[in-house]
């Protein structure tokens, strides 16, 4: 590594260390413990599930290793696709929009050093999560197939080039795109393409109904099955070479060619990427400095909201209009609606695909049970959506807080506007998925009423929790709204919401059970009893507290913000 490259990378390393020290000084230990615990639990779950699957495969003669190899190949192929998408987006920030670029480009830094430093930065930022995810997977393979102490080195040897190749391709794709479009337009374009691609992938994966593959009647005979398993899925992809290297090491036969292919391809890609960088970066960087002119006439939302907003104070009205305009003009924000649509389609598809509908007569008990437990699932979906759209609301005001704090704006009006701008669409969505699900399940009017009442209360609470935690853990420095929910505060919000959902389900279990019993025994349901009413009242109180308390705490926190 040349002196210039270490100089370019130095500030990044020192910044990371300083941030760690600051975190430690500001009581970041609790945060580290929570994150560590959640990460460990996740690792253990992935490891545990895979260990059981692989242990079962190992016991199956002939097909076992083939299945294990296929599974690894699929996992690595998924990693490769995710890495490619995330590198394309990250490369735009690190190569063209980063704040240190003006300094670096103006300084006498060699172009190759700049390329390697920025490539490394891109790779690190977009790959760390995939690398962490890979640890329990490879650990399970190593332990089940007795990989021994050399196995981690083999994994390292195949994993590094697997990270390098998508980083080079991603950076090169971005480089070409920036040369065609202005960088700020490219960012919009990329966020839409990435999210649409991710959504489409998930949707396709779900719609092909992978659960059907587990049905033995799908295969004509064993030979067909083995033939399919033996054929490489994608012989020219690095993920296939990596799989063959790992499985070759674990169960044989070992072939060094795959490893050589991996490393030589990674090396060749870096060289090609550098050549492309030398040719296109100067013009691309210049283009990235160009602003994206956009003239807009913003009367649509003003007019559309006029019938409702005329009852509001001028500050609240303009706040709501402003928030909606900003949302629909920022591609990193509105493009997430694509994911939302995918989520809803998959959700309803899953309900439709439940095996409840395979028999002739669906048992009443199961339908009611699914309808009831569906509340938890719907609540979780709403929490995930609130994390995306409501949680970042306070953070997004960050840099403009000077304006809000120096004006006579009552922060309660701000919080009120943010709350209802987030809650109203969430309520509509909650009602749609609950009513549709219950209609699909042919649930009884009682279950429909319980579901609707509960989901309304839950939505009010979830939106308040999202806003409250968003104010407690603001991310004022981020430029991308989509990154805000993945912060520590987002995690705490999700954990709290899951706890709330659990409490509500447990509380409602007893009146719902009483209803099921009464219906099964063909008795009249006695509603006016403490056993029936008290748990329902408790749900109202719990949701009421979960709505009021976070908003109050959020307001206090916002009043204490200093800029």
């Amino acid at each position: 590594m040349s002196l210039s490259l270490t100089t370019v990378l130095g500030p990044k390393w020192r910044t990371a260390r300083a941030r760690l020290r600051q975190d430690r000084a500001s009581g970041g230990r609790g945060k580290a413990v929570v994150l560590g615990t959640v990460g460990l639990v996740f690792w253990l779950v992935v490891f545990g599930v895979l260990y059981r699957v692989l242990a079962y495969f190992r016991g199956v003669e002939e097909i076992g290793p083939l299945l294990a190899g296929k599974l690894l190949g699929l996992a690595l192929l998924s990693f490769l696709s995710i890495l490619l998408l995330s590198n394309v987006v990250t490369a735009l920030s690190s190569f063209f929009l980063a704040k240190d670029l003006e300094l670096l480009v103006a300084a006498p830094v060699d172009w190759l050093d700049l390329y390697l430093a920025k490539l490394g930065e891109t790779m690190l930022h977009s790959s760390w999560m995939v690398a962490l995810m890979a640890v329990p997977i490879f650990a399970a393979y190593g332990i089940v197939y007795d990989g021994g102490w050399l196995f981690p080195l083999v994994v390292l040897a195949i994993f590094l080039p697997l990270l390098v190749v998508p980083a080079v391709i991603g950076s090169a794709t971005t480089l070409i795109l920036v040369n065609v479009f202005p960088a700020r337009r490219t960012r919009d374009l990329l966020s839409v393409i990435t999210i649409a691609a991710a959504g489409l992938l998930v949707l396709m994966f779900r719609l092909i109904r992978p659960e059907q593959l587990a049905r033995p009647e799908g295969f004509r005979n064993l030979l067909d099955f083995i033939t399919v398993l033996r054929a490489p899925t994608s012989p020219f992809l690095p993920s296939e070479w990596a799989t063959r290297t790992v499985m070759g090491y674990l169960v044989g036969p070992w072939d060094l060619l795959d490893l050589v292919l991996l490393w030589s391809t990674a090396g060749a890609f870096v060289v090609l990427g550098a050549v492309l960088h030398a040719q296109l970066y100067p013009t691309g960087f210049t283009k990235a400095q160009e602003g994206a002119e956009r003239f807009v006439r913003g009367w649509f939302w003003q007019t559309a909201l006029a019938p409702v907003s005329q009852f509001l104070t001028v500050a609240k009205r303009e706040f709501i209009v402003k928030d909606i305009k900003l949302f629909f003009r920022d591609a990193t924000q509105w493009s997430q609606l694509i994911l939302l649509a995918v989520l809803v389609v998959i959700y309803l598809f899953n309900i439709r695909a439940l095996p409840l509908f395979t028999g002739e007569q669906v048992p009443f008990f199961f339908v009611s049970l699914v309808s009831f437990l569906n509340l938890g699932l719907a609540g979780f979906v709403l929490a995930a959506i609130a994390a995306r759209f409501v949680f970042p609301a306070v953070s997004l005001e960050g840099r403009q807080m000077w304006l809000l704090r120096s004006s006579p704006l009552d922060l309660r009006a701000l919080l009120w506007s943010k709350y209802w701008t987030g809650t109203v669409p969430l309520l509509v969505l909650a009602l749609i998925i609950t009513v549709f699900t219950n209609v699909l399940l042919k649930a009884t009017p009682f279950m429909m009423a319980v579901s609707i009442g509960t989901i309304l209360l839950l939505t009010l609470a979830i939106a308040a929790l999202a806003l409250g935690f968003g104010a407690l853990y603001p991310q004022f420095d981020t430029e991308n709204a989509a990154q805000i929910p993945t912060s520590f505060g987002g995690l705490v919000f999700m954990m709290t919401t899951v706890a709330l959902l659990a409490v509500v389900i447990v509380l409602e279990a007893s009146p719902v059970y009483a209803y099921l019993q009464a219906t099964r025994n063909e008795e009249t349901l006695r509603i006016l009893t403490p056993q029936f009413l008290l748990p329902l009242a408790a749900v109202v109180v719990v949701c009421g507290i979960a709505t009021a308390l976070p908003l109050r705490i959020g307001l206090r926190r916002m009043e204490a913000f200093e800029f």
């Binding site: 700020r184 602003g291 994206a292 002119e293 956009r294 003239f295 807009v296 006439r297 913003g298 104070t313 001028v314 500050a315 009205r317 303009e318 706040f319 402003k322 305009k325 900003l326 003009r329 920022d330 840099r399 403009q400 807080m401 000077w402 304006l403 809000l404 704090r405 120096s406 004006s407 006579p408 704006l409 009552d410 204490a560 200093e562 800029f563």
Partner: protein
């Protein structure tokens, strides 16, 4: 109009502003000078209600800022040193939004938006997103936003940064006219010629405390500086680089 009593701000163990007492009466243009990190911006941000003082009192137009923030802020216009604005709003929309924060809307505001954009030569950019504005254009838009609700006092941090000569001249004229009509301005600046030419009185702040204050004549008297310029006074009070130090840097 602006009264500070024992104003103090601490960040952890560091004292940024240390017990400042100051009174700026109605109709005065007051200059706030000092080296980098002296506590100017912190003081101005406390007056604007963005930072909470650790101790002391701020009164704007006779209203206590801590006790009655809404009432006090209603008469204030604040212009920060860094022009952060909603990138995805147009200039016109931003001004309409700021007016709404002060509870104002309707035809009068639309007319005022048009006037302000005209004065600052932003009319042709009215419907363009702020993300495409230059630094100077953003600065002009923020100055317009500080004037939209017809404030009684303006607190401004480094107003000339990013403005072209025409814009700087326009701003000077606006400030002079504003003060002549009974408005009050507290302005921090590093452009000493501007401060010397425009300000009725000046305070020089160092290490969080006021080192000297008064008219130019009073400052010269306090420092026994004869006919010295504001630049000389400033360097004398805050400690400037000697010629020998400068030569050492340039010679390497």
């Amino acid at each position: 109009m602006i009264r500070l009593e024992g104003l103090t701000k601490r960040f952890g163990t560091f004292t940024a502003v240390n017990g400042i007492d100051l009174h700026v009466p109605r109709g005065e243009l007051f200059g706030f000078l000092g080296p980098n990190g002296a506590g100017k911006t912190t003081t101005l941000r406390m007056i604007a209600g963005i930072l909470r003082p650790t101790a002391g009192r701020i009164t704007l137009g006779g209203v206590d800022l801590i006790r009655e923030p809404m009432k006090a802020k209603a008469i204030l216009g604040f212009i920060p040193d860094r022009p952060f604005i909603y990138e995805k709003l147009t200039g016109g929309e931003f001004l309409r939004f700021v007016a709404a924060l002060y509870g104002q809307d309707g035809d009068k505001i639309e007319k005022r938006i048009g006037e302000l954009l005209e004065v600052f030569e932003l009319t042709q950019w009215r419907d363009e997103l702020v993300e495409a504005y230059s630094h100077g254009m953003r600065q002009k838009l923020i100055i317009s936003s500080a004037l939209i609700h017809r404030p009684e006092l303006i607190v401004v941090d480094e107003p000339m940064v990013g403005l072209d000569p025409k814009g700087a001249r326009l701003l000077k004229d606006i400030f002079k006219e504003f003060a002549a009509r009974g408005g009050t301005i507290l302005m921090s600046t590093h452009t000493l010629e501007v401060a010397e030419a425009m300000c009725d009185r000046i305070a020089i702040i160092q290490n969080g405390a006021i080192a000297a204050r008064g008219t130019m004549a009073e400052l010269r008297q306090q420092t026994s500086s004869g006919n010295a310029s504001l630049e000389d006074l400033f360097l004398r009070l805050t400690g400037g680089s000697t010629a020998r130090e400068l030569a050492a840097i340039l010679d390497g």
